[in-house]
Symmetry: C2
Subunit: 711 residues, 2 copies
Amino acid sequence: MWVTALLLLSFFAGAQNSTRFNIDDATLAQWGKYRPVTLLALQWRPSSESYTYVSGDTLVQVNAKSGAKATLFTLNDLNRVLSEANLRPVRSLAYASWRANQQLSVTSGAKKVVVNVSPLSVEQVISFTDDAAGVDYAPANGLFAYTVSNNLYIQKQDNSSIQVTNDGAEAGIVNGQAVHRSEFGIRKGTFWSPKATYLAFYRMDESMVTNYPLVDVTTRIATLQNTKYPMAGMTSHEVSVGVFNVATGKTVYLKTGEPKEQYLTNIAWAPDEKSVYVAIVNRAQNHMWLNEYDVATGQFVKTLFEETSESYVEPQDAMIFLSTRPNEFIWQSSRSGNKHFYLYNTDGKLVKQLTSGGWDVMQVIGMDAKERTLYYTSTQESPMQRHLYSVDLKSLKVTKLTAEHGTHNPLVNVEKGYFLDVFSSTDVPNCIDLYTLKGKRVKNLLVAENPYAGMDMPEMEMVTLTAKDGETPLYGRIIKPLGYKEGGKHPVIVYVYGGPHLQLVTDTWLGGARLWEYYMAQKGYVMFTVDNRGSYGRGHKFESVIHRQLGVKEMEDQLTGVDYLKSLPFVDQDRIGVHGWSFGGFMTTSLMLKASDTFKVGVAGGPVMDWSLYEVMYGERYMDTPQENPEGYEESNLVKKASLLKGKLMLIHGDVDGTVVMQHSLQFIKECVSNGVPVDFFIYPQHEHNVRGRDRVHLMQKVTDYFDSNL
Amino acid sequence: MWVTALLLLSFFAGAQNSTRFNIDDATLAQWGKYRPVTLLALQWRPSSESYTYVSGDTLVQVNAKSGAKATLFTLNDLNRVLSEANLRPVRSLAYASWRANQQLSVTSGAKKVVVNVSPLSVEQVISFTDDAAGVDYAPANGLFAYTVSNNLYIQKQDNSSIQVTNDGAEAGIVNGQAVHRSEFGIRKGTFWSPKATYLAFYRMDESMVTNYPLVDVTTRIATLQNTKYPMAGMTSHEVSVGVFNVATGKTVYLKTGEPKEQYLTNIAWAPDEKSVYVAIVNRAQNHMWLNEYDVATGQFVKTLFEETSESYVEPQDAMIFLSTRPNEFIWQSSRSGNKHFYLYNTDGKLVKQLTSGGWDVMQVIGMDAKERTLYYTSTQESPMQRHLYSVDLKSLKVTKLTAEHGTHNPLVNVEKGYFLDVFSSTDVPNCIDLYTLKGKRVKNLLVAENPYAGMDMPEMEMVTLTAKDGETPLYGRIIKPLGYKEGGKHPVIVYVYGGPHLQLVTDTWLGGARLWEYYMAQKGYVMFTVDNRGSYGRGHKFESVIHRQLGVKEMEDQLTGVDYLKSLPFVDQDRIGVHGWSFGGFMTTSLMLKASDTFKVGVAGGPVMDWSLYEVMYGERYMDTPQENPEGYEESNLVKKASLLKGKLMLIHGDVDGTVVMQHSLQFIKECVSNGVPVDFFIYPQHEHNVRGRDRVHLMQKVTDYFDSNL
């Protein structure tokens, strides 16, 4: 009897709340059960006018022209073939990707398997040792580059391997991996030449860089895990570029010269494989030389051109050579204050600027066969949107190819003249249309239904504010609490990032917000975010106002956001909180200290508290060195300002955070303790710069509780 | 006008609270402005019947027999003499101490100065290098032993020095310092022979012990501060004893044999300087051999006797040789279940047991010239009290020499037959009487007034409970909130330590409580403490019930305390909190996990969470090794039980705690995170096993806030 009553009770409790999110869903379900439906693994089949996607356990192919639909094979079919070759089955077709018109590659256990489509059969099995990383495939001849520990290897099709470097066991030597802490668009450490005759690779010497002692507390005696962490103004690592000749087994290092503390960025191969190009950036990051080096000797050939800036240069895109005119290439530069395309020739002469205007090109999609038209995405329509465009290289005429407002991630088949327009917007969870590259919509493939139908979904609005300079528009997003129209005042939480390379307010589904923000709005909070000057998507001029003075302009714009919030009738001006992570933790703490009458409660995760404790590459770009900019470092040093804290502030840090080291939080706390200032803190043991996975629920519960208890 | 009103307001606010403590005073003033008045630097003048003390800037001497009072000299007098010798002045006479009937020693800057009393003049100036530590004076010939880094030196009267060891620069070698983590009563590393012909010293080899990585976050790049930390069951350090002959400069090492992982405790010199005695304890700590070694050769001579125990042996007191019968010595042992005196001869034969009973001897005071009477303190009256006793070595008649209930710290002048009875009790802040050693009170010297007169001092009561075994009395202390008689229910905080070597409930002023507990009682909390089985002052039998099962009996007794609390009409049974540090942090967390329906809020500082992460010496004494006692380690492992947590628990840790390493808290937190269990945490950066100094106010405010917010 008692048991029954209890069950009924929990049933009703459940029913009552079924239109509200719980903390688990608020944290994790946005990309799980609430993910808008889509066509899984949608891709073009190479050299064809067909696209494929996975439907259940079936690989479906559709001909764009005829509309004919076919089943290529099923998961069972594939696993039977794998089994016959004594290979482990795969769980899903979603990770099968086209490698050629007749070949797909799949991952079976630790092996990569190349599968012929008709008849379905195993073509090749590539085995790596368990500790292989950074596998880089050369389509030209089927070789694989990979690293084990800090040495570089090449695997041949017969699974035999060549060792490219052998100094990786030396202290501080790293071969074949991303360098410069993955700044300057660097995401990998190996670069095959067009015909895969050569492999260019990064070699980094970190032996002169100070160790930062991270500690693993999960072993019975905690163990030291040193990481090389060059702090702003300190001795940094030295990088060089090797070029390995696969046939001779010889490596030539490019003579990139002195000073060795420089950045070797955006490695590109000449189509004829005779030259390697490197965009050299000086340590001060205000000067770039686009240099050509001779592959045979490593000798410097010439500087094609230079770029300089009073703030910083930040080349992030390698040259893109034209096939039909191999002495010409497209270069992407923010030299005008916005990022645009420039056509150069290999003499270093500017042929013509291809795009211009107060917006940024975003991604190169490709060119037609005759290389008369360049396809790309840009922010021309709005900084919050992404559309597909083409530009005619002769007339410079720009054509917009996508229609609906929102963020388009087109899959383009340049060869056959089609694209699949995958997009979402504040109104559209997910939509996929087939277009011709002439801009004609062939048909709609999918419109996802609102995954939150039936939930008490708080109202979201995109707002445009004007910065205190009287002219710069600032884009914001407000999520209004349930029942906000019914009168009464609601507390606000400002969610902030505010640093370069990230944009929070976007014309995408949910407006770019995390579901947690809607959860908080369900609980009665106004959730607000504005992308301040310095943030991503608005171009170099907008971003670089933060140079040498991190926090100043960013805070000014965040306070513009607060002015807006205070104008709203349903906002309780005395209950404004702020939350952010990383640069957003720096912003959160800055606002808590410097606008201490405005913000009552803050939660700062992985916060930068003193830029002199941050690393060289990112830190010096925006702040110069502490020696060069003592005032800027002093003004932005939050440790020294800890005694200004009046509200409730909780810091959160992962104890093995190797990006913003925990020292930032601990120095701030120490200053609070010395000054008798209350402050709160939590550690996520063995987490790095963010709390990922299942543990994130604990984090978001803690953040939620802190606002619930204190705001 | 407005300003005036505000001033008045704060004036009244101040006046209103002037009978209540603030957090600063609650934390720090107990030993500052609220310290009961006393006679500063009270001591007997050697070989005289006079005692001296400091009154203001004057050194006062009183003849115990005649009562004649004299001024010896003033601070000005002393500083004039120091100045004439080009020595820095001293700030106070309080640190001047008698060295002989005509000589005092004072510290002037970094120098030790010996001063003649009449006429007042400088006799000797002893200079050490700035980094000298562990200075050990040999009265017999005026030599000083001291260490610099890890080497041992001897300083002569002409300030020239002899280097005794030279392997201190080797990794892991430590000379002349306390070893075995200062267990077994070890407080220093040098032992002069009676005539200072020899210097015995400890040498410790820690090179085989695992490093524990502590991190100093105050440097711009955090720096590693490794400490040798042998965890239970792991490889431990190896200790030997060297004997340095001052005349020859030769060192002989005692052949203490295998296994090298043993404890060399309680070093004692034979009166004739021909032998050194060491109480050897095996690593298992259940067997002691009192061994004699030949000084000339280091050879083992014989074992005088052995002690074994089913739980553990813990010799903490070196042999005390009789002057009149140099082949006899007093040995202190807990072999009977309580600590008592035994008279042995150097053949290892027990002459007689001197004391016995269900109580412990505490401190040897000395013997009369004919060595017929031994003076000592003990708990014979009550475990919460300390009294001075004598025992007649012939008749074994015990005589109690102090009268009033409380804790007596007598200063005894055995030679002239007097003692100064300095004592406090729950009723008496501080009282000093002059007695003859025959027990006759000569006169009262001082009765301190209640330093809290005029404050709203909460009522304190000592209570006696009975453990669940139905027979063992447990002593507790309750501090009742202001106004508790007026009805209403009050929340309770149990303050707990619970481990060996510490007693919290004592018949001393404030009952042994910290002023913070009275502060909390002023705020409305019932503050309660009970010394459970396993704690100090009740003898080996009472303490050793915890062997191999830390936490079990201790918790049982704490819950007996809770039963008592629940019987009180003014206690709110639903609002019981618990707080403790170190072993008390282990107890706090144990209670929060295993009595989760009883305790609503806990604050655990520097808690042991897993005894396998604690060090060898202390850990294995109580728990054996993890290999020997897997069930005991499993049962007491709080990390694995983190998911049992239901209430609000805050952990606090110093990030350079080298006693209970922060790994304990972090592993517990990690388990909480994995299990989705809310938990709170705070770090005191650069603090060790406790938070000392001014920062302690921040700590106690944080602890207070946590109970205020959650209980």
